[in-house]
Protein backbone atom coordinates (compact mmCIF):
# COMPACT_ATOMS: atom_id res chain seq x y z
CA UNK A 1 0.00 0.00 0.00
CA UNK A 2 1.26 3.49 -0.66
CA UNK A 3 0.11 5.00 2.58
CA UNK A 4 3.11 6.33 4.48
CA UNK A 5 2.17 6.43 8.11
CA UNK A 6 5.55 7.43 9.43
CA UNK A 7 6.30 11.10 9.96
CA UNK A 8 8.42 12.26 7.08
CA UNK A 9 11.69 14.09 7.46
CA UNK A 10 10.83 17.79 7.61
CA UNK A 11 14.39 19.03 7.45
CA UNK A 12 15.10 17.95 3.90
CA UNK A 13 11.77 18.02 2.14
CA UNK A 14 10.17 21.08 0.69
CA UNK A 15 6.70 19.98 -0.23
CA UNK A 16 3.89 20.73 2.15
CA UNK A 17 2.72 17.15 2.01
CA UNK A 18 6.02 15.92 3.27
CA UNK A 19 6.01 18.46 6.08
CA UNK A 20 2.98 16.87 7.61
CA UNK A 21 2.27 13.35 8.67
CA UNK A 22 -0.05 11.66 6.27
CA UNK A 23 -2.20 10.78 9.21
CA UNK A 24 -3.09 14.41 9.68
CA UNK A 25 -4.16 14.65 6.07
CA UNK A 26 -6.63 11.86 5.85
CA UNK A 27 -10.27 12.74 6.38
CA UNK A 28 -12.92 11.13 8.53
CA UNK A 29 -14.14 8.95 5.63
CA UNK A 30 -10.63 7.65 5.02
CA UNK A 31 -10.18 6.88 8.68
CA UNK A 32 -13.32 4.77 8.68
CA UNK A 33 -11.88 2.63 5.90
CA UNK A 34 -8.14 2.67 6.45
CA UNK A 35 -8.07 -0.71 8.15
CA UNK A 36 -10.13 -2.29 5.38
CA UNK A 37 -7.74 -1.02 2.72
CA UNK A 38 -4.72 -2.08 4.74
CA UNK A 39 -6.13 -5.60 4.94
CA UNK A 40 -6.83 -5.64 1.23
CA UNK A 41 -3.29 -4.51 0.52
CA UNK A 42 -1.73 -7.14 2.76
CA UNK A 43 -3.62 -10.04 1.15
CA UNK A 44 -1.70 -11.20 -1.93
CA UNK A 45 -4.83 -12.88 -3.25
CA UNK A 46 -6.35 -9.48 -4.04
CA UNK A 47 -5.64 -8.49 -7.60
CA UNK A 48 -2.40 -10.33 -8.40
CA UNK A 49 -1.18 -10.95 -11.94
CA UNK A 50 -1.37 -14.69 -12.56
CA UNK A 51 0.43 -16.27 -15.49
CA UNK A 52 -1.05 -19.53 -16.80
CA UNK A 53 1.18 -22.18 -18.31
CA UNK A 54 0.66 -25.52 -20.05
CA UNK A 55 3.90 -27.24 -19.06
CA UNK A 56 4.11 -29.35 -22.21
CA UNK A 57 3.91 -26.25 -24.40
CA UNK A 58 5.80 -23.53 -22.53
CA UNK A 59 9.49 -24.23 -23.05
CA UNK A 60 11.28 -26.95 -25.04
CA UNK A 61 12.90 -29.64 -22.93
CA UNK A 62 16.65 -29.57 -22.49
CA UNK A 63 16.72 -33.35 -22.12
CA UNK A 64 14.24 -34.57 -24.69
CA UNK A 65 16.39 -37.48 -25.90
CA UNK A 66 16.78 -38.88 -22.43
CA UNK A 67 13.07 -38.94 -21.73
CA UNK A 68 11.69 -39.98 -25.11
CA UNK A 69 11.00 -43.45 -23.72
CA UNK A 70 8.44 -41.95 -21.33
CA UNK A 71 6.09 -41.14 -24.21
CA UNK A 72 4.29 -44.37 -24.98
CA UNK A 73 1.69 -45.25 -27.61
CA UNK A 74 -0.66 -43.64 -28.43
CA UNK A 75 1.33 -40.63 -27.19
CA UNK A 76 3.35 -38.87 -29.90
CA UNK A 77 6.14 -36.33 -29.71
CA UNK A 78 5.99 -33.31 -32.00
CA UNK A 79 8.60 -30.73 -32.84
CA UNK A 80 8.44 -27.23 -31.37
CA UNK A 81 7.69 -25.60 -34.72
CA UNK A 82 4.63 -27.78 -35.30
CA UNK A 83 1.21 -26.45 -34.32
CA UNK A 84 -1.52 -28.57 -32.76
CA UNK A 85 -4.20 -29.83 -35.11
CA UNK A 86 -7.44 -31.60 -34.44
CA UNK A 87 -6.99 -35.34 -34.83
CA UNK A 88 -9.06 -38.48 -34.86
CA UNK A 89 -10.86 -40.34 -32.11
CA UNK A 90 -8.83 -43.23 -30.73
CA UNK A 91 -11.53 -45.63 -29.70
CA UNK A 92 -9.37 -47.97 -27.68
CA UNK A 93 -7.81 -45.20 -25.61
CA UNK A 94 -11.06 -43.25 -25.42
CA UNK A 95 -9.35 -39.97 -26.34
CA UNK A 96 -8.65 -37.86 -29.41
CA UNK A 97 -5.23 -38.12 -31.01
CA UNK A 98 -4.58 -34.41 -30.44
CA UNK A 99 -4.97 -35.06 -26.72
CA UNK A 100 -1.93 -37.32 -26.79
CA UNK A 101 0.33 -35.15 -28.95
CA UNK A 102 3.24 -33.88 -26.87
CA UNK A 103 5.80 -31.13 -27.36
CA UNK A 104 8.11 -32.13 -24.51
CA UNK A 105 8.06 -29.17 -22.12
CA UNK A 106 8.57 -29.93 -18.44
CA UNK A 107 9.31 -28.46 -15.02
CA UNK A 108 13.00 -28.24 -15.80
CA UNK A 109 12.47 -26.30 -19.03
CA UNK A 110 10.01 -23.98 -17.31
CA UNK A 111 12.60 -23.33 -14.60
CA UNK A 112 14.94 -22.08 -17.30
CA UNK A 113 12.45 -19.34 -18.09
CA UNK A 114 11.98 -17.91 -14.62
CA UNK A 115 13.90 -14.78 -15.58
CA UNK A 116 11.33 -14.11 -18.28
CA UNK A 117 8.49 -14.47 -15.77
CA UNK A 118 10.31 -12.32 -13.26
CA UNK A 119 10.83 -9.61 -15.88
CA UNK A 120 7.11 -9.67 -16.66
CA UNK A 121 6.50 -8.80 -12.98
CA UNK A 122 3.92 -11.52 -12.47
CA UNK A 123 2.79 -12.37 -8.95
CA UNK A 124 1.78 -16.00 -9.41
CA UNK A 125 2.31 -18.89 -11.77
CA UNK A 126 -0.64 -21.18 -12.43
CA UNK A 127 0.14 -24.56 -13.97
CA UNK A 128 -2.48 -26.57 -15.80
CA UNK A 129 -2.71 -30.15 -14.42
CA UNK A 130 0.60 -31.95 -14.02
CA UNK A 131 -0.43 -35.27 -12.51
CA UNK A 132 0.18 -38.72 -13.96
CA UNK A 133 -2.23 -39.35 -16.83
CA UNK A 134 -2.55 -40.30 -20.48
CA UNK A 135 -3.17 -36.97 -22.15
CA UNK A 136 -1.14 -33.81 -22.63
CA UNK A 137 -3.70 -31.65 -20.79
CA UNK A 138 -3.83 -34.09 -17.85
CA UNK A 139 -7.42 -33.34 -16.97
CA UNK A 140 -7.76 -37.13 -16.77
CA UNK A 141 -5.53 -37.91 -13.78
CA UNK A 142 -4.56 -41.49 -13.06
CA UNK A 143 -2.94 -40.65 -9.74
CA UNK A 144 -2.92 -37.21 -8.13
CA UNK A 145 -0.06 -38.12 -5.82
CA UNK A 146 2.42 -38.37 -8.70
CA UNK A 147 3.69 -35.68 -11.02
CA UNK A 148 3.68 -37.16 -14.52
CA UNK A 149 7.25 -38.29 -15.23
CA UNK A 150 7.18 -36.54 -18.62
CA UNK A 151 7.04 -33.32 -16.59
CA UNK A 152 9.32 -34.31 -13.68
CA UNK A 153 8.88 -35.39 -10.09
CA UNK A 154 7.38 -34.02 -6.91
CA UNK A 155 10.89 -33.15 -5.86
CA UNK A 156 11.24 -31.05 -9.04
CA UNK A 157 7.94 -29.39 -8.21
CA UNK A 158 9.15 -28.59 -4.69
CA UNK A 159 12.31 -27.02 -6.11
CA UNK A 160 10.30 -25.00 -8.58
CA UNK A 161 8.10 -23.77 -5.76
CA UNK A 162 11.16 -22.78 -3.75
CA UNK A 163 12.77 -20.98 -6.70
CA UNK A 164 9.57 -19.12 -7.49
CA UNK A 165 9.12 -18.03 -3.90
CA UNK A 166 12.68 -16.75 -3.89
CA UNK A 167 11.65 -14.49 -6.79
CA UNK A 168 8.47 -13.41 -5.03
CA UNK A 169 6.24 -15.50 -7.29
CA UNK A 170 3.50 -17.82 -5.94
CA UNK A 171 2.66 -21.23 -7.36
CA UNK A 172 -0.84 -22.51 -8.03
CA UNK A 173 -1.78 -25.98 -9.27
CA UNK A 174 -4.84 -27.17 -11.16
CA UNK A 175 -6.91 -29.73 -9.25
CA UNK A 176 -9.35 -31.88 -11.17
CA UNK A 177 -11.29 -33.43 -8.33
CA UNK A 178 -14.63 -34.10 -10.01
CA UNK A 179 -13.33 -36.99 -12.10
CA UNK A 180 -10.28 -39.06 -12.99
CA UNK A 181 -9.03 -40.73 -16.16
CA UNK A 182 -10.65 -43.99 -17.19
CA UNK A 183 -7.30 -45.73 -17.34
CA UNK A 184 -6.44 -44.79 -13.78
CA UNK A 185 -5.39 -47.97 -11.99
CA UNK A 186 -7.91 -47.05 -9.30
CA UNK A 187 -10.79 -46.98 -11.74
CA UNK A 188 -9.59 -50.09 -13.53
CA UNK A 189 -9.49 -51.94 -10.22
CA UNK A 190 -12.94 -50.63 -9.38
CA UNK A 191 -14.29 -52.01 -12.67
CA UNK A 192 -12.57 -55.37 -12.28
CA UNK A 193 -13.46 -55.99 -8.65
CA UNK A 194 -16.80 -55.00 -7.16
CA UNK A 195 -15.35 -55.52 -3.69
CA UNK A 196 -12.41 -53.20 -4.28
CA UNK A 197 -12.32 -50.22 -1.91
CA UNK A 198 -11.94 -48.11 -5.05
CA UNK A 199 -15.39 -49.20 -6.23
CA UNK A 200 -17.08 -46.66 -3.96
CA UNK A 201 -14.71 -43.94 -5.11
CA UNK A 202 -16.54 -43.73 -8.42
CA UNK A 203 -20.15 -43.25 -9.50
CA UNK A 204 -21.18 -46.64 -10.79
CA UNK A 205 -24.86 -46.38 -11.57
CA UNK A 206 -27.65 -48.03 -13.52
CA UNK A 207 -28.69 -44.51 -14.48
CA UNK A 208 -26.04 -44.65 -17.16
CA UNK A 209 -26.14 -47.16 -20.03
CA UNK A 210 -22.35 -47.13 -19.66
CA UNK A 211 -22.58 -48.32 -16.06
CA UNK A 212 -20.81 -45.30 -14.61
CA UNK A 213 -21.36 -41.55 -14.66
CA UNK A 214 -18.68 -39.54 -16.42
CA UNK A 215 -18.13 -35.82 -16.68
CA UNK A 216 -20.24 -34.36 -19.49
CA UNK A 217 -20.79 -37.98 -20.58
CA UNK A 218 -17.17 -38.16 -21.77
CA UNK A 219 -16.19 -41.82 -21.62
CA UNK A 220 -12.63 -41.15 -20.45
CA UNK A 221 -13.64 -39.12 -17.41
CA UNK A 222 -15.44 -41.21 -14.73
CA UNK A 223 -16.77 -39.00 -11.96
CA UNK A 224 -15.61 -39.37 -8.39
CA UNK A 225 -18.17 -40.15 -5.72
CA UNK A 226 -17.69 -37.14 -3.47
CA UNK A 227 -20.67 -38.26 -1.42
CA UNK A 228 -18.37 -40.98 -0.02
CA UNK A 229 -16.50 -39.49 2.99
CA UNK A 230 -13.46 -41.62 2.15
CA UNK A 231 -13.16 -39.80 -1.19
CA UNK A 232 -13.30 -36.44 0.54
CA UNK A 233 -10.67 -37.59 3.05
CA UNK A 234 -8.46 -38.71 0.18
CA UNK A 235 -8.88 -35.52 -1.77
CA UNK A 236 -8.87 -32.77 0.84
CA UNK A 237 -10.03 -33.55 4.37
CA UNK A 238 -7.00 -35.37 5.80
CA UNK A 239 -3.66 -33.66 6.48
CA UNK A 240 -2.02 -36.07 4.02
CA UNK A 241 -4.81 -35.62 1.43
CA UNK A 242 -3.98 -34.49 -2.08
CA UNK A 243 -4.99 -30.87 -1.53
CA UNK A 244 -3.23 -30.51 1.79
CA UNK A 245 -0.09 -32.50 1.02
CA UNK A 246 0.92 -30.27 -1.91
CA UNK A 247 0.21 -27.19 0.20
CA UNK A 248 2.29 -28.53 3.08
CA UNK A 249 5.06 -30.46 1.35
CA UNK A 250 5.75 -28.64 -1.91
CA UNK A 251 4.47 -25.41 -0.32
CA UNK A 252 2.29 -24.47 -3.24
CA UNK A 253 0.15 -21.39 -2.69
CA UNK A 254 -3.20 -22.56 -3.90
CA UNK A 255 -5.41 -24.57 -6.18
CA UNK A 256 -7.44 -23.69 -9.20
CA UNK A 257 -10.30 -26.18 -9.24
CA UNK A 258 -11.38 -27.57 -12.57
CA UNK A 259 -15.16 -27.77 -13.15
CA UNK A 260 -15.69 -26.45 -9.63
CA UNK A 261 -19.38 -26.01 -10.45
CA UNK A 262 -19.71 -29.79 -10.48
CA UNK A 263 -18.32 -30.12 -6.95
CA UNK A 264 -21.19 -28.03 -5.60
CA UNK A 265 -21.16 -25.46 -2.81
CA UNK A 266 -20.85 -27.75 0.20
CA UNK A 267 -17.79 -29.72 -0.90
CA UNK A 268 -16.11 -26.59 -2.23
CA UNK A 269 -16.68 -24.88 1.10
CA UNK A 270 -15.13 -27.84 2.94
CA UNK A 271 -12.19 -28.07 0.55
CA UNK A 272 -11.49 -24.35 0.89
CA UNK A 273 -11.63 -24.57 4.67
CA UNK A 274 -9.18 -27.50 4.79
CA UNK A 275 -6.85 -25.76 2.35
CA UNK A 276 -6.84 -22.66 4.55
CA UNK A 277 -6.09 -24.86 7.54
CA UNK A 278 -3.06 -26.27 5.74
CA UNK A 279 -1.97 -22.82 4.60
CA UNK A 280 -4.00 -19.81 5.77
CA UNK A 281 -2.66 -17.71 2.90
CA UNK A 282 -3.57 -20.21 0.21
CA UNK A 283 -6.06 -19.36 -2.49
CA UNK A 284 -8.81 -21.55 -3.91
CA UNK A 285 -10.10 -20.48 -7.30
CA UNK A 286 -13.08 -22.22 -8.87
CA UNK A 287 -13.68 -22.71 -12.55
CA UNK A 288 -17.15 -21.18 -12.48
CA UNK A 289 -18.84 -20.04 -15.66
CA UNK A 290 -21.89 -18.64 -13.88
CA UNK A 291 -22.76 -15.38 -12.19
CA UNK A 292 -20.15 -15.09 -9.41
CA UNK A 293 -22.38 -13.96 -6.53
CA UNK A 294 -22.96 -17.03 -4.36
CA UNK A 295 -19.76 -18.95 -5.08
CA UNK A 296 -17.94 -16.99 -2.41
CA UNK A 297 -17.01 -18.03 0.26
CA UNK A 298 -17.31 -21.62 -1.02
CA UNK A 299 -14.19 -20.63 -3.00
CA UNK A 300 -11.97 -17.60 -2.48
CA UNK A 301 -12.56 -16.50 -6.04
CA UNK A 302 -13.84 -17.70 -9.39
CA UNK A 303 -12.43 -17.66 -12.90
CA UNK A 304 -14.40 -14.58 -13.94
CA UNK A 305 -15.85 -15.90 -17.19
CA UNK A 306 -18.86 -13.66 -16.61
CA UNK A 307 -16.72 -10.52 -16.56
CA UNK A 308 -14.89 -11.75 -19.65
CA UNK A 309 -18.18 -12.17 -21.45
CA UNK A 310 -19.26 -8.60 -20.73
CA UNK A 311 -16.00 -7.20 -22.12
CA UNK A 312 -16.12 -9.31 -25.28
CA UNK A 313 -19.82 -8.62 -25.81
CA UNK A 314 -19.22 -4.88 -25.61
CA UNK A 315 -16.33 -5.08 -28.05
CA UNK A 316 -18.36 -7.20 -30.44
CA UNK A 317 -21.09 -4.54 -30.34
CA UNK A 318 -23.63 -6.81 -28.67
CA UNK A 319 -24.07 -4.62 -25.61
CA UNK A 320 -23.45 -0.92 -25.11
CA UNK A 321 -20.55 0.42 -23.09
CA UNK A 322 -22.78 1.81 -20.30
CA UNK A 323 -24.56 -1.56 -19.98
CA UNK A 324 -21.19 -3.31 -19.72
CA UNK A 325 -20.31 -0.99 -16.86
CA UNK A 326 -23.67 -1.53 -15.22
CA UNK A 327 -23.22 -5.29 -15.37
CA UNK A 328 -19.88 -4.98 -13.61
CA UNK A 329 -21.36 -2.71 -10.98
CA UNK A 330 -24.19 -5.15 -10.36
CA UNK A 331 -21.90 -8.18 -10.16
CA UNK A 332 -19.63 -6.39 -7.69
CA UNK A 333 -22.56 -5.18 -5.61
CA UNK A 334 -24.00 -8.70 -5.44
CA UNK A 335 -20.79 -10.65 -4.90
CA UNK A 336 -18.98 -8.11 -2.71
CA UNK A 337 -15.64 -6.49 -3.39
CA UNK A 338 -13.72 -8.97 -1.21
CA UNK A 339 -14.77 -11.74 -3.55
CA UNK A 340 -14.39 -9.85 -6.81
CA UNK A 341 -10.83 -8.78 -5.96
CA UNK A 342 -9.92 -12.46 -5.72
CA UNK A 343 -11.59 -13.49 -8.97
CA UNK A 344 -9.35 -14.15 -11.96
CA UNK A 345 -10.27 -12.10 -15.01
CA UNK A 346 -9.10 -13.81 -18.18
CA UNK A 347 -9.57 -13.01 -21.84
CA UNK A 348 -8.51 -16.41 -23.12
CA UNK A 349 -7.26 -19.72 -21.82
CA UNK A 350 -6.84 -23.38 -22.77
CA UNK A 351 -10.62 -23.75 -23.23
CA UNK A 352 -11.24 -20.73 -25.44
CA UNK A 353 -9.85 -19.41 -28.69
CA UNK A 354 -7.07 -16.90 -28.16
CA UNK A 355 -8.10 -13.26 -27.95
CA UNK A 356 -6.42 -12.48 -31.26
CA UNK A 357 -8.77 -15.00 -32.89
CA UNK A 358 -11.87 -13.76 -31.10
CA UNK A 359 -11.42 -10.03 -31.75
CA UNK A 360 -10.00 -9.28 -35.17
CA UNK A 361 -9.33 -5.54 -34.84
CA UNK A 362 -6.20 -4.34 -33.02
CA UNK A 363 -8.19 -1.59 -31.24
CA UNK A 364 -10.58 -4.24 -29.88
CA UNK A 365 -7.71 -6.35 -28.59
CA UNK A 366 -6.01 -3.35 -27.01
CA UNK A 367 -9.19 -2.20 -25.30
CA UNK A 368 -9.89 -5.72 -24.02
CA UNK A 369 -6.37 -6.04 -22.62
CA UNK A 370 -6.47 -2.65 -20.90
CA UNK A 371 -9.86 -3.46 -19.39
CA UNK A 372 -8.49 -6.80 -18.18
CA UNK A 373 -5.85 -4.86 -16.25
CA UNK A 374 -8.17 -2.14 -14.92
CA UNK A 375 -11.41 -3.92 -13.96
CA UNK A 376 -11.36 -5.37 -10.42
CA UNK A 377 -9.83 -8.78 -9.77
CA UNK A 378 -6.67 -10.66 -10.59
CA UNK A 379 -5.35 -10.63 -14.14
CA UNK A 380 -5.04 -14.17 -15.47
CA UNK A 381 -2.70 -14.10 -18.43
CA UNK A 382 -2.57 -17.18 -20.66
CA UNK A 383 0.98 -17.97 -21.80
CA UNK A 384 1.75 -16.29 -25.12
CA UNK A 385 -1.18 -13.88 -24.87
CA UNK A 386 1.33 -11.21 -23.95
CA UNK A 387 2.99 -11.92 -27.31
CA UNK A 388 -0.17 -11.85 -29.39
CA UNK A 389 -0.06 -15.57 -30.16
CA UNK A 390 -2.93 -16.76 -32.33
CA UNK A 391 -5.00 -19.92 -32.10
CA UNK A 392 -8.59 -21.03 -32.54
CA UNK A 393 -10.46 -23.44 -30.33
CA UNK A 394 -8.98 -26.64 -28.94
CA UNK A 395 -6.33 -27.68 -29.75
CA UNK A 396 -5.13 -24.65 -31.74
CA UNK A 397 -4.96 -22.32 -28.74
CA UNK A 398 -2.56 -24.73 -27.02
CA UNK A 399 0.34 -24.21 -29.43
CA UNK A 400 3.94 -24.23 -28.23
CA UNK A 401 5.13 -20.89 -26.85
CA UNK A 402 6.40 -18.60 -29.61
CA UNK A 403 9.69 -17.52 -28.06
CA UNK A 404 10.59 -15.93 -31.40
CA UNK A 405 7.94 -13.29 -30.66
CA UNK A 406 9.79 -12.15 -27.55
CA UNK A 407 11.54 -9.13 -29.03
CA UNK A 408 11.61 -5.37 -28.65
CA UNK A 409 9.56 -4.84 -31.83
CA UNK A 410 6.53 -6.73 -30.56
CA UNK A 411 3.88 -4.05 -29.93
CA UNK A 412 1.59 -6.40 -27.99
CA UNK A 413 4.43 -7.36 -25.68
CA UNK A 414 5.27 -3.67 -25.25
CA UNK A 415 1.66 -2.99 -24.30
CA UNK A 416 1.72 -5.83 -21.78
CA UNK A 417 4.97 -4.69 -20.25
CA UNK A 418 3.46 -1.27 -19.77
CA UNK A 419 0.27 -2.72 -18.32
CA UNK A 420 2.19 -5.03 -16.00
CA UNK A 421 4.27 -2.11 -14.82
CA UNK A 422 1.21 0.08 -14.26
CA UNK A 423 -0.45 -2.74 -12.40
CA UNK A 424 2.56 -3.11 -10.13
CA UNK A 425 2.69 0.61 -9.36
CA UNK A 426 -0.98 1.42 -9.02
CA UNK A 427 -2.54 0.04 -5.83
CA UNK A 428 -6.03 1.14 -6.89
CA UNK A 429 -5.90 -1.35 -9.74
CA UNK A 430 -4.93 -4.19 -7.41
CA UNK A 431 -7.34 -3.62 -4.55
CA UNK A 432 -9.17 -0.33 -5.04
CA UNK A 433 -12.92 0.22 -4.98
CA UNK A 434 -14.90 0.30 -8.22
CA UNK A 435 -17.08 3.31 -8.98
CA UNK A 436 -19.19 3.38 -12.10
CA UNK A 437 -19.77 6.81 -13.64
CA UNK A 438 -22.92 7.98 -15.41
CA UNK A 439 -22.54 8.02 -19.17
CA UNK A 440 -24.64 7.88 -22.27
CA UNK A 441 -22.15 6.24 -24.63
CA UNK A 442 -18.86 5.67 -22.84
CA UNK A 443 -17.78 3.02 -20.39
CA UNK A 444 -16.44 5.09 -17.50
CA UNK A 445 -15.35 3.93 -14.09
CA UNK A 446 -12.93 4.78 -11.33
CA UNK A 447 -10.71 2.64 -9.15
CA UNK A 448 -9.79 4.27 -5.87
CA UNK A 449 -8.21 3.80 -2.48
CA UNK A 450 -8.22 6.40 0.27
CA UNK A 451 -5.49 8.38 -1.49
CA UNK A 452 -6.34 10.64 -4.42
CA UNK A 453 -2.86 9.91 -5.74
CA UNK A 454 -3.97 6.34 -6.40
CA UNK A 455 -7.24 7.19 -8.15
CA UNK A 456 -7.57 5.87 -11.70
CA UNK A 457 -10.24 6.92 -14.16
CA UNK A 458 -10.95 4.67 -17.14
CA UNK A 459 -12.84 5.94 -20.20
CA UNK A 460 -13.57 3.56 -23.07
CA UNK A 461 -15.25 4.43 -26.33
CA UNK A 462 -15.94 1.25 -28.32
CA UNK A 463 -18.05 3.09 -30.91
CA UNK A 464 -16.80 4.19 -34.32
CA UNK A 465 -17.48 7.89 -33.60
CA UNK A 466 -15.84 10.43 -31.34
CA UNK A 467 -17.79 10.76 -28.10
CA UNK A 468 -18.04 13.97 -26.09
CA UNK A 469 -19.62 13.67 -22.69
CA UNK A 470 -19.73 15.55 -19.43
CA UNK A 471 -18.56 13.05 -16.83
CA UNK A 472 -19.37 13.39 -13.16
CA UNK A 473 -16.28 12.40 -11.18
CA UNK A 474 -17.07 10.49 -8.01
CA UNK A 475 -13.90 11.67 -6.28
CA UNK A 476 -14.25 14.50 -3.75
CA UNK A 477 -10.50 14.95 -3.57
CA UNK A 478 -10.05 15.99 -7.19
CA UNK A 479 -9.32 19.69 -6.67
CA UNK A 480 -10.95 22.12 -9.03
CA UNK A 481 -8.83 23.00 -12.09
CA UNK A 482 -6.73 19.86 -11.64
CA UNK A 483 -5.51 18.10 -14.74
CA UNK A 484 -6.21 14.45 -15.48
CA UNK A 485 -3.68 12.91 -17.86
CA UNK A 486 -3.88 9.70 -19.88
CA UNK A 487 -1.21 7.06 -19.25
CA UNK A 488 -1.44 5.95 -22.90
CA UNK A 489 -1.61 9.20 -24.86
CA UNK A 490 -1.15 12.96 -24.58
CA UNK A 491 -4.82 13.51 -23.76
CA UNK A 492 -5.59 15.72 -20.77
CA UNK A 493 -8.81 16.93 -19.20
CA UNK A 494 -9.40 19.75 -16.74
CA UNK A 495 -11.51 19.03 -13.69
CA UNK A 496 -14.14 21.68 -13.15
CA UNK A 497 -16.72 21.58 -10.36
CA UNK A 498 -16.32 17.84 -10.10
CA UNK A 499 -16.79 17.16 -13.82
CA UNK A 500 -14.67 16.75 -16.90
CA UNK A 501 -15.76 17.38 -20.43
CA UNK A 502 -14.37 14.23 -21.98
CA UNK A 503 -13.60 13.89 -25.66
CA UNK A 504 -12.72 10.33 -26.51
CA UNK A 505 -11.77 9.40 -30.08
CA UNK A 506 -13.48 6.40 -31.68
CA UNK A 507 -12.35 2.94 -30.56
CA UNK A 508 -10.12 4.39 -27.90
CA UNK A 509 -9.54 3.73 -24.22
CA UNK A 510 -7.92 6.12 -21.73
CA UNK A 511 -6.50 5.44 -18.29
CA UNK A 512 -6.29 8.75 -16.45
CA UNK A 513 -4.60 9.93 -13.27
CA UNK A 514 -4.60 13.31 -11.57
CA UNK A 515 -1.52 15.49 -11.78
CA UNK A 516 -0.44 16.30 -8.22
CA UNK A 517 2.94 17.84 -9.06
CA UNK A 518 3.98 21.24 -7.74
CA UNK A 519 3.38 24.33 -9.89
CA UNK A 520 6.61 25.94 -11.19
CA UNK A 521 6.87 28.29 -8.23
CA UNK A 522 6.03 25.64 -5.66
CA UNK A 523 2.28 25.96 -5.15
CA UNK A 524 0.44 22.64 -4.89
CA UNK A 525 -3.32 22.09 -4.68
CA UNK A 526 -2.74 18.72 -3.09
CA UNK A 527 -0.45 19.80 -0.28
CA UNK A 528 -3.08 19.11 2.33
CA UNK A 529 -5.06 16.49 0.47
CA UNK A 530 -4.02 12.88 0.80
Amino acid sequence: MTILWATTDTTESTSALEKMTVKKLINIHDKAREEEFSKRAEDWRNGPVVYQVLLDRFAPSRNLESKKHLYKEPQKLRTWDETPKRGEYLKEAGVWSHEVDFWGGDIDSLSEKLDYLKALKIDALYLNPIFLSLTNHKYDAWDYSQVDPVYGTREDLGKLSENLHRQGIRLILDGVFNHMGKQSPFFQEAIADEKSPWRKFFTFSNKSPRGYISWLDVENLPELNLENPAVRDYLYAKPDSIVQSYLRKEKIDGWRLDVAYDLGFKYLEDLTEFAHEANPESVIIGEIWSYPEEWHPAVDGVMNMHGRRTILSMLEGKISAPICGKMWETAIEDAGMDHILKTWLLLDNHDTARLTNILSEPWQQKMARILQFTFPGAVCLYYGSELGMTGGIDPEQRAPMRWDLVNSENEILKLHKKLLSIRKNEPALRYGDFRLLHTEKLLAFMRKTISVRDTILVLANPTDKKVEEMIQLRESKFQDSSVLFDLFSDAKFNVHTGFIHAEVPPQTIMVLKVDTADHPMGYNRYSRIY
Binding site: S214, D262, W289, D334
Partner: protein, 83 residues
Protein backbone atom coordinates in the same frame (compact mmCIF):
# COMPACT_ATOMS: atom_id res chain seq x y z
CA UNK B 1 -35.44 -31.41 -6.41
CA UNK B 2 -37.46 -28.32 -7.30
CA UNK B 3 -36.05 -25.41 -9.22
CA UNK B 4 -37.96 -22.27 -8.56
CA UNK B 5 -35.97 -19.73 -10.50
CA UNK B 6 -38.07 -18.25 -13.28
CA UNK B 7 -37.03 -15.63 -15.79
CA UNK B 8 -39.81 -13.51 -17.25
CA UNK B 9 -39.27 -11.60 -20.49
CA UNK B 10 -41.97 -9.31 -21.86
CA UNK B 11 -41.85 -7.26 -25.06
CA UNK B 12 -44.47 -4.61 -25.71
CA UNK B 13 -43.13 -3.29 -29.00
CA UNK B 14 -44.39 -4.34 -32.42
CA UNK B 15 -40.99 -5.52 -33.58
CA UNK B 16 -38.76 -8.39 -32.58
CA UNK B 17 -36.11 -7.48 -30.07
CA UNK B 18 -32.73 -9.10 -29.96
CA UNK B 19 -31.17 -8.37 -26.61
CA UNK B 20 -27.71 -9.63 -26.05
CA UNK B 21 -26.82 -10.29 -22.48
CA UNK B 22 -28.83 -7.47 -20.95
CA UNK B 23 -29.45 -7.20 -17.22
CA UNK B 24 -31.08 -10.59 -17.20
CA UNK B 25 -27.76 -12.09 -16.27
CA UNK B 26 -28.24 -10.94 -12.72
CA UNK B 27 -30.02 -13.77 -11.00
CA UNK B 28 -28.82 -16.77 -12.88
CA UNK B 29 -25.82 -17.67 -10.81
CA UNK B 30 -26.81 -21.31 -10.47
CA UNK B 31 -27.58 -21.99 -14.09
CA UNK B 32 -24.75 -23.44 -16.06
CA UNK B 33 -23.56 -23.07 -19.57
CA UNK B 34 -24.96 -25.17 -22.40
CA UNK B 35 -28.08 -25.98 -20.41
CA UNK B 36 -31.13 -25.20 -22.44
CA UNK B 37 -33.84 -23.11 -20.83
CA UNK B 38 -37.16 -24.26 -22.30
CA UNK B 39 -39.70 -21.50 -22.55
CA UNK B 40 -42.83 -22.92 -21.06
CA UNK B 41 -45.40 -22.00 -23.70
CA UNK B 42 -43.58 -21.52 -26.96
CA UNK B 43 -40.71 -23.95 -26.37
CA UNK B 44 -38.17 -21.30 -27.28
CA UNK B 45 -34.76 -22.18 -25.93
CA UNK B 46 -31.76 -20.10 -25.04
CA UNK B 47 -28.34 -21.32 -24.04
CA UNK B 48 -26.74 -19.79 -21.00
CA UNK B 49 -23.16 -18.71 -21.52
CA UNK B 50 -21.04 -17.37 -18.68
CA UNK B 51 -24.06 -16.27 -16.72
CA UNK B 52 -25.70 -14.47 -19.64
CA UNK B 53 -28.12 -15.33 -22.42
CA UNK B 54 -28.69 -13.80 -25.81
CA UNK B 55 -32.45 -13.54 -26.24
CA UNK B 56 -34.72 -12.92 -29.19
CA UNK B 57 -38.22 -11.93 -28.18
CA UNK B 58 -41.05 -11.76 -30.76
CA UNK B 59 -43.31 -8.67 -30.78
CA UNK B 60 -46.08 -8.42 -28.20
CA UNK B 61 -45.01 -11.55 -26.42
CA UNK B 62 -44.13 -12.84 -23.01
CA UNK B 63 -41.74 -15.65 -22.25
CA UNK B 64 -41.40 -17.46 -18.99
CA UNK B 65 -38.14 -19.37 -18.80
CA UNK B 66 -36.97 -22.13 -16.54
CA UNK B 67 -33.69 -23.93 -16.59
CA UNK B 68 -33.48 -27.45 -17.99
CA UNK B 69 -32.04 -29.81 -15.40
CA UNK B 70 -32.45 -33.20 -17.09
CA UNK B 71 -29.71 -35.82 -17.14
CA UNK B 72 -27.47 -36.14 -20.14
CA UNK B 73 -28.00 -39.38 -22.14
CA UNK B 74 -25.26 -41.20 -20.23
CA UNK B 75 -26.38 -39.91 -16.86
CA UNK B 76 -24.23 -36.83 -16.26
CA UNK B 77 -26.05 -33.95 -14.61
CA UNK B 78 -24.67 -30.51 -13.74
CA UNK B 79 -27.30 -30.03 -11.07
CA UNK B 80 -26.56 -33.10 -8.97
CA UNK B 81 -24.93 -31.00 -6.28
CA UNK B 82 -26.76 -27.71 -6.85
CA UNK B 83 -30.03 -27.01 -5.07
Amino acid sequence: MTFLTILLLALFTSFTLSADAKHISRDFMSIHDTIKSPEIHERAKFTIYAGTIDVEVPPHSVMMLKVGTDDYPMGYNRYDRIY
